[in-house]
């Protein structure tokens, strides 16, 4: 099966106008695989037939469904485990080292989709931080549909199979019919709200911002604008986490790249000189020296497995 040019162009144009997300030629497979379930549900023979009917019908719910199908990220729980091990081994120790008491921690999980990311953050924080740290996670997405599922905290068997460590599953979930329901204590730490990355950010400041696997969809100018807005709501000394294939380098200079384990995270700097390595000031040096001999960034470690 392959899509006609008309189908792809129509979908790409619709998605770009509604979400600013670019579907370059070559993403036909994505359009095909995301829309096929909708096509079958509607009893169409294939994606071309389905899109043709959406095009001629021009019904708003159909158009919304197409955009949502293309812009919703399939998410696993501890997707690319690196950011979560970095949270444990680098970012939280760094934040702790900088403040006499870490009594409050605010996190923004942007483009949170169906909630796996904010819940994974919440599970990690619950494991590491004691009850003396009040944690608040603001989780946002463009789509009401995914936010509703996220708020409900109910996941299918297939969804809990995707990268959720079994000890976390038994600790934080209970079976509910054929699905799994996440614990109320975790849900309480998260505020879900609708938000478009093209608009003003949610109320800061945040200590951590997770903005993963979403910049890749935007053009350079939009990427830069989004990073600028994130910069404004991130506390000095806070961290930005991007997707494994994403970087601030060459996009926006106001960030310092911090290598962690198998990836990188970013800290806000000012003046756009991050291309030149900033001198190791007292603000950063002791931070990464926690329980390590060398007061510099630790080298990439090969084995990022769960400890056992």
């Amino acid at each position: 099966m392959s899509l006609t040019r008309e189908t792809f162009d129509f979908v790409a144009d619709l998605v770009r106008r509604r979400s600013a997300i670019q579907l370059e030629p070559g993403k036909e497979y994505l359009v095909e695989s995301r829309l096929l379930p909708l096509a079958r549900e509607g009893g169409h023979s294939g994606v071309d037939a389905y899109v043709t009917s959406v095009r001629t019908g021009r019904r708003e719910p159909d158009l919304v469904a197409v955009v949502e199908a293309l812009t919703t990220n399939e998410t696993s729980w501890f997707r690319d485990s690196t950011p979560f091990s970095a949270l444990r081994t680098h970012m939280l120790p760094a934040l702790r080292a900088e403040r006499p008491v870490l009594d409050r921690l605010r996190v923004w999980s942007a483009a949170c989709s169906t909630g796996q990311e904010p819940y994974s953050i919440a599970m990690t924080l619950a494991e590491i931080l004691g009850p003396s740290t009040r944690t608040e996670i603001v989780a946002t997405d463009l789509s009401d549909q995914v936010l509703n599922q996220a708020k409900e905290g109910r996941y299918s068997q297939l969804e809990v199979n995707r990268g959720l460590p079994a000890p976390m599953l038994v600790r934080h979930f209970r079976r509910s019919g054929a699905d799994w329901q996440i614990a109320e204590e975790l849900r309480r730490t998260i505020t879900f709200q609708r938000h478009n990355l093209l608009d003003a950010p949610p109320l800061g400041p945040f200590d951590l911002v997770f903005l993963r696997n979403v910049l890749i969809y935007f053009d350079l100018a939009t990427k830069r604008a989004i990073l600028g807005r994130v910069h404004r709501v991130l506390r000095p000394g806070g961290f930005l986490v991007l997707g494994a294939a994403e970087t601030t380098i060459g996009v926006d200079g106001d960030w310092e790249r911090v290598p962690v384990a198998r990836g990188s995270v970013y800290r806000p700097v000012h003046g756009g000189t991050a291309a030149l390595p900033t001198p190791r000031t007292t603000a950063t040096a002791p931070t990464f020296g926690v329980s390590r001999p060398a007061p510099t960034f630790p080298p990439a470690t090969v084995n990022q497995g769960v400890s056992r």
Partner: protein, 149 residues
Amino acid sequence: MSIAVETDQVYAITHEVFGAMIDPEPGYLRPWEGELPAPVDPLAAWVDVHGELAGRAAVICETAAAHDLARALLRMEPGEEVTPADLVDAFGEVANVVGGNVKALLPSQGTLTLPQVAAAVPPAPAGAPVHELALDWRGHPLAVVVWLF
């Protein structure tokens, strides 16, 4: 006895099994419209649950459709020949995965038997099934039947 298992849940489970392991993506399994035709050359696979609350879950379709299912599970080419041993094993595994997940819906912890495959499901101790899903998989009629004993 109150129904411990709902039809929607059995449907959701079957959908997940097909979407994850048999088809490249969800969307090929849907409700059969109208009456499910009686199979001419049927093949059935089932597992039993033993325990405080016991039951049986079965998948029944035409033998030809079972061949297609086995080919899909084993990622074989269309038309490639399925050996009798592979047919029994693969089709039995579909019933096993559906049945294991149905078992988890029961309020008491039970144990699962190994899957069995035959032309017909033996008579159930408690008679009529509690659920009979009539499904359409790529145009093939397919039934998923659950009994609670």
